[in-house]
Assembly symmetry: C2
């Protein structure tokens, strides 16, 4: 029942940007800036309209990143692949790690048996630092004079 879609330069760029940003969440502003960088000016309304369409189609997800307090959009590679496990999110690079391993079952069982809590994976996120970013933070810690980004 999907209506016919037309291809336009702006849409191609936007979708491309979202795809390549798979492990990083982007804001509507980021998209606008990206288009600017590519010398393509697209009206904000157009961006929002397209983003909403993509959301409706399930191609992307929209939610608020509470760390930055902004609405972010995230490309969904395969929605069905993201069920049954929770996500680890790096607070520094916004990268996402899918906790797709046997430990998921251990978590689920523990919560069920010890806390009578039925885990729902959707929306459940654990924050922290990924391997790469931790190393960078450690480097930064060694250089006291360096400008460090703080919360």
């Amino acid at each position: 029942m999907d209506r016919r879609k037309y291809h336009t330069k702006g849409r191609a760029l936007i979708l491309g940007f979202l795809e390549q940003s798979q492990s990083v969440t982007v804001t509507a502003k980021d998209i606008w800036a990206f288009l600017q960088d590519h010398d393509v000016t697209v009206n904000r309304s157009t961006i929002y309209r397209y983003l909403n369409q993509l959301c409706d189609d399930g191609a992307i997800m929209k939610y608020t990143d509470n760390d930055i307090g902004k609405t972010v959009y995230e490309y969904v590679k395969d929605k069905h692949d993201c069920q049954g496990h929770i996500h680890l999110k790096c607070v520094r690079c916004n990268g996402i790690i899918h906790l797709e391993c046997g430990f998921m079952e251990e978590i689920r069982e523990h919560l069920e048996e010890s806390h009578h809590f039925s885990l729902q994976c959707e929306g459940s996120v654990l924050y922290g630092l990924c391997d790469h970013c931790r190393k960078i933070e450690e480097q930064a810690a060694k250089m006291p004079n360096e400008e460090r980004h703080s919360v």
Copy 2:
């Protein structure tokens, strides 16, 4: 180093409302409506200003509830008691369970060793159904004609 605070009727009501709503998140609008119900008219700016102060003081937490897409505020009983463990949040009653048990260490170790991920408890939330609400949901499922609340 906290500056002197003056007590006013509006502030007392707002804080009281937040305290009594401990397991339920409230929006700025809810607060405004609550004050109206108590025949106290407080300007929106005042509400926001006070909420931001409470956030800075760590008395409440501010974040966006992605289910309703609105900014919500939540009373923090004792911030220091909430470090070192993650939270389980019931999607139905918004109640919070503190995962303060030995399993926390297991989680931390697994993420560290298998995923090279340094867990940061702050903000990490697992969603699901608490014992009480699951039973209610099960009851509702047995009564097909009953009005059921859905997502």
